[in-house]
Symmetry: C2
Subunit: 417 residues, 2 copies
């Protein structure tokens, strides 16, 4: 059997399983999730032994420290996985919900009913916990999932997928609702991307290069974000201590993630007061500052080049620009931003609203840190990723974003005239 | 300037216009629509003269009668265009609406605000009225649109695009919110499909071949349906006169459209009574019947082959199959259907719900004709197309489907801990 046939076979089985999952009861889905949580706890040492083998091989391949850290299924990571499952069990089932309903002049009752998307393909890199985190959301929303994890985590992923499948089967649900592509051959990804007839949506998670490859070759819709070049605009009237605190949080609390601030925009009227205050705190936190020429006149910093405005540092580096007003700030965001997360710090009502209206990013905040762009933090309960493509989902995606609605119509013999 | 550079230039101008359109007031957008309607009426004879030239050239190229009919901007088509614009003016503006809002434990107020998609690419074939119908929906929803019409309608499209642009400009809105790709060169389509950075979504309308080409080559999301192989399932307990009326309406009222019935599924327990009744009416209406072997035992008809179950006839031809029960009907729909529109005719409550739950098509009807799968008929007010891809929109797409939501968050200094 060729690789293409093998992957297509997985697609066919997934589509069959998706049909069963779409009509599964809430209690069966929740029972499967409960069994999975129990089984992860019961087989914890086995999971960690398998994971240790992945880590050992990764070390031989001289993976970076950051990548090795992501690969590890520590007690903490496993604990979060299990408590995550328990959270998901507690939520209401989105499927079958009638979102709205109305009656047409001819008496036809028309509504929208929430249904699963069908088959979801997830392509991800080193973190093996994604295997579980993504699958449980897909199960809750009545979907089937095809997982294609990173080759470094292959053995860990296989062990976790086995637990997921056994949990489904024990609850009387099709084990093929979770399938792991059983090869590390990179061309399997390309084969998945051809399966428009079997996979309804592809969600790539990882570096920009992987995501571009998936997007450019996929025949089905792709939910993705390339990067997060997030901005904080400190407006002329900002409360300076609040602005400093928000900027430090946005840059320093977790610099390696997509919702961290990368560029700070400062209104010229507040720059002389605000910049020294924020620079002092940034330096304490070990942040390297790269400023425009006007910034350089006020504080000590490296000069920023044109490239800096496009950069997603994912590190303790911050680009700073002094702007002549809000329009320049918004134009800067339009030109260099990534539609991810933008915040304004201001005390002026009208200016807060102007920023909220005109900035078209997946999350626009007033007087709060960019770090809140996260499914848990915004109150979605969970997150399978953040989308900056505007179609279907824009921003963090929770369980509802793994569903769609179909139209339903109840008549008593209506025909069209 | 190369074709690629020319098309990219259109994309850039559209993105710039989209930024202005996103913050345009409702009254400016509605004024532009009013000017466009007035201008179409004022320049009607000019439009029809230009259109006559397109038709003349099409005749020389020996286009089919059906294609020639679609090309014509008759008094009726122009009248519908204008009354369509007046309808759109009367609707509420979707933009800026806060869809929902909640407060997080830390006091952060989080909501979803409806915003335009941005730049919409429309690729369509002969009908020049799509130029206007699609553009006005895009304008109402605050988007910019790039139009790529069929080469047969090139001069008509150019005339209508000119009217649209003048109406926008007169209302103080950017005329580049409507742009027509000014060439009939087919490779311009391929260039458009590369513009992920400038075009947010592509909506192809036309034959399956065109739509597949767009889908397979697009780097941005595509909203589409390939075809409509719609089914009516006449259940064991159906009211026979109602079932006959619904089937005749679904097949005969307008056979050349995507929501017409192509295959009739009949429960074996009602087949002997129902089939002669429906066959009589179908024959009166000139419908050619192609039945499975069990159908052939009950009524006179051509034998149906395996290919017939996949066929979108778009013509007065109907495939008929007798099934042993609802599960066989649903399995048939899953295998041969196109996720477009399916109807059941039944008097049994439980069976109506089972069909509604288990059939995952964009519209599932009980006791009503498949012909209702249409934005106007379902009460969306208008329609820019029907999507059978489940992402973003599933079913007819109205103005709301040309928007998305961004998250907005209002804080008073919240940081993430």
């Amino acid at each position: 059997m060729s690789l293409g046939e093998m992957v297509k076979g997985i697609g066919k089985k997934a589509k069959e399983a998706a049909f069963m999952m779409a009509k599964a009861s809430s209690s069966d889905k929740d029972r499967a999730l409960k069994y999975i949580a129990e089984e992860i706890e019961r087989r914890k040492s086995e999971i960690q032994n398998v994971n240790a083998r992945d880590i050992e091989e990764a070390k031989k391949k001289e993976l970076s420290g950051a990548k090795l850290a992501r690969l590890e299924l520590s007690d903490k990571v496993i604990g979060e996985m299990v408590s995550g499952i328990r959270d998901v069990i507690a939520w209401p089932d989105p499927i079958g919900r009638i979102v709205s309903m109305w009656t047409r002049p001819n008496g036809l009752r028309v509504g929208r009913m929430r249904i699963p998307l069908g088959v979801i393909g997830i392509i991800y890199e080193s973190r093996p916990n994604v295997t579980v985190d993504a699958s449980i959301l897909c199960i809750k929303a009545g979907n089937a999932v095809i997982l294609r994890g990173g080759s470094e985590a292959f053995q860990s992923n296989r062990c976790l997928a086995d637990i997921l499948r056994k949990g489904l089967a024990r609850a009387g649900l099709p084990e093929n609702a979770v399938q792991l592509v059983p090869t590390t051959d990179r061309s399997a990804v390309l084969e998945m991307l051809k399966l428009e007839d079997y996979i309804d949506v592809m969600i790539p998670r990882g570096g920009e290069e992987l995501i571009r490859f998936v997007n450019d070759n996929a025949t089905m819709p792709v939910l993705k974000h390339y990067k997060g070049v997030c901005h904080v605009f400190v407006d002329r009237s900002a409360d300076i201590p609040m602005a400093v605190e928000i900027c430090i949080n946005a840059k320093v609390q977790k610099p390696g993630v997509c919702n961290a601030m990368e560029t700070l925009l400062v209104h010229e009227r507040i720059a002389e007061k605000f910049l020294p205050a924020v620079a002092e705190e940034m330096e304490k936190a070990g942040v390297e500052l790269r400023g425009c020429h006007r910034t350089q006149e006020i504080i000590e910093c490296h000069p920023a080049t044109e490239d800096d405005w496009y950069e997603e540092y994912l590190d303790l580096i911050l680009a700073i620009k002094v702007v002549s007003g809000m329009d320049e700030a918004i134009d800067h965001i339009r030109k260099y931003g990534s539609d991810h997360t933008e915040a304004i710090v201001t005390t002026e009502y009208e200016r807060a609203w102007k920023f909220v209206q005109e900035v078209q990013s997946s999350l626009v905040l007033v007087n709060a840190s960019t770090r809140f762009n996260d499914g848990y933090q915004l109150g979605l309960g969970a997150e399978i990723g953040i989308s900056t493509s505007k179609l279907h989902a824009f921003g963090p995606m929770g369980v509802d974003e793994l569903t769609t609605t179909k139209f339903v119509a109840f008549g008593d013999g209506q025909i069209r005239t």
